[in-house]
Amino acid sequence: MSRAEAAAAAREEPDARTEPHPESAQGRLRPFALLGSELGRLFRRGRTIAMLAALAAVPVLIAVAVRVTNAGGGGRGPAFLGSITHNGLFVAFTALVVCIPLFLPLTLGVVSGDTVAGEASHGTLRYLLIAPTGRLRLLLVKYAGVIAFALAATVTVVLVGVLIGALLFPVGPITLLSGDTVGTAGFVGRTTLMAGYVAMSLLGFGAIGLFASTLTTVPVGAMAGTVVLAVVSQILDALPQLDWLHPWLFSHYWLGFGDLLRDPIVWDSYGQNAALQAGYVVVFGGLAYARFATKDILS
């Protein structure tokens, strides 16, 4: 996004961006104005829309490829791929499996790496803080934007997967990993839980991106660093020699959403993942605050 666009975006939300005083009546009446402006700006950006479209293309591509070749891969390929021809709803699961290692971290890395560094590079960070908005508040709003994008990205993949699967393949009761089948209500419930799980899995990673974004005024640097970290974490997770380290890697439970497809649902990885992500959010959120609060804002 160019500087001009940023200025235009800022002009669109004059209330939020140029609040005269935090204690003014207007500020108190609209406590979420900054959040609303941030979310509006994030989801109206061409780049965000393009990334969501790219994510939506993954399930479409999978479904069309399976439909055209009419082959389930014969046990090879990502998990659930073989089930798609029997039941189109599995497109959503396959798409999640495919997106989690690279596409979701890549897009979230772009969004979280851009949070502070992007404003700094546009020269808008100064004005945001002069507004005046507290630095903590700005950081929280930026992180809220990251969370919103993580949710939107996951929901996009799942929803598009379900829709395209239902369009191209027969739909029926879902066979769980345990061999039991669940009907529509069970499917909707479990899919919602799964989207929540995947979005939650990305929170720690998002916090790392936020911290990286406070370190530099070059957004590309923060984005690249964050995405590289996601890849490194997954490589470390694949090395059996480092198994003592695995439970501490933020990517360790990323594929744990499979536990939601068992009967009864195994909640262990949900709980462990939540604790791990909370740990990462606290540590890197703290670091991001410390860095951002002590930083000289020069742009």
Partner: protein
């Protein structure tokens, strides 16, 4: 100063996180200490285990092994640890860590649910019905055993105490036993440690931790000589002694799954071993007809060696020449060349496959197997 203060949250956060992680461990240590009082004898502990057959519980089981073997999950098709057939399935169980859910409701209803990444293997026993399910292969094996009550009637009517006593008096010749108190999965346990006396075995210790109230073994560990980490351990990370819901023990194969049905006809035949799904799937056509010379045991106690003659009915192995390309690749990967065959040396046991099809195995060094084979 003010700048420093702003770094405070960043410094405090890791401390808080690590503290939160470590707190349960400290709490566990305290309960373990408070349980210091009289410890029962080794035979009393074993009798406690023998009585636990009617217990009902559900829990999470973690299995790790460090046999000095490479983790072979990467050798199999990329995405799939645990998807392979027969031998490779067992290898996967031996070399990679696993988590399983266990549901037990008395002696007739059991379920082991192996939680693989985005896949699952199940063994469900409900009375005479046994189901083995593999989600990755989309196959279900249905085994119906003949009336289990007949098999039960054959069981000797000795009390658990008698049995434990007899077992121990036999083992006492070459084993020292020690009972301590501890805690596993938040339960207080009696830990029975068996230390072999003979120097010829690879096993340095076998440890069983038994729940003090119910007698359910909560942790089993096998230690190898000269190795700090356990060679193999199976341990409950959490356990719940309420009766598991009945629907955990029912299984209906999903539409589209390949179902194999097997009926065990011989009266009194044992139901398949529920702990290792791999062994259940062994197909009978691997067996060779002909000589019925069974396996024999050389020596006694910890240093005993199991010898399976070539082509016997108990052996699925028909000499190194008869392996398929895949199998021999796996065998070559695992074993080393020794005189007269190929040997596998792990930290707690050795296996020798001779060129003429004999198999030797034991908890002894490979050299002892070689001299037994000569």
């Amino acid at each position: 100063m003010k700048r420093l203060l702003k770094w405070l949250p960043a410094l405090v956060a890791p401390v808080v996180v690590v503290g939160a992680m470590a707190a349960p461990a400290f709490a566990g240590a305290r309960t373990a200490e408070s349980a210091k009082s009289g410890t029962p004898s080794a035979s009393a502990v074993l009798a406690l285990v023998a009585k636990s057959g009617t217990a009902h519980y559900s829990g999470t089981l973690r299995q790790t092994s460090d046999l000095g073997l490479p983790d072979l999950s990467s050798l199999q098709t990329g995405s799939g640890a645990g998807s392979a057939d027969g031998t490779a399935g067992i290898l996967d169980l031996l070399t990679a860590p696993h988590t399983a859910k266990v549901y037990v409701d008395g002696p007739r209803k059991q379920r082991v649910q192996v939680l693989d990444s985005l896949a699952e293997r199940d063994v469900i026993r409900n009375g005479r019905q046994v189901w083995v399910w593999d989600s990755k292969k989309n196959t279900a094996l249905h085994v119906t055993s003949p009336t289990t009550s007949a098999a039960r009637a054959d069981a000797p009517t000795t009390t658990p105490q008698d049995l434990a006593g007899r077992l121990l008096s036999e083992a006492k010749n070459d084993t020292t036993f020690r009972v301590t108190k501890g805690s596993v999965a938040g339960r207080s346990v009696f830990t029975l440690t068996a230390t072999p006396k003979p120097a010829g075995t690879l096993v340095s210790k076998a440890i069983v931790s038994v729940d003090t109230k119910t007698g359910v073994p909560l942790r089993v560990e096998l230690d190898a000589r000269g190795q700090a980490t356990p060679a193999a351990s199976v341990s409950f990370s959490s356990i719940d002694f309420r009766r598991p819901a009945a629907k955990n023990f029912t299984f209906t194969p999903p539409k589209g799954a390949k179902v194999t049905t097997k009926r065990l006809s011989t009266p009194g035949a044992n139901t398949p071993n529920t702990s290792t799904p791999g062994t259940v799937q062994q197909s009978p056509d691997n067996r060779r007809p002909g000589s019925f010379e069974g396996p024999s045991v050389i020596g006694s106690g910890w240093t005993s060696i199991l010898a399976v003659p070539a082509g016997s009915s108990g052996s699925a192995f028909g000499g190194l020449g008869e392996l398929t390309a895949d199998q021999s690749h796996l065998v070559n990967e695992l074993t080393q060349k020794v005189s007269g065959g190929r040997g596998l040396q792990t930290s707690v046991f050795s296996l020798l496959l001779t060129d003429d099809g004999r198999v030797y195995a034991g908890a002894v060094p490979l050299s002892a197997l070689e001299s037994a084979a000569r």
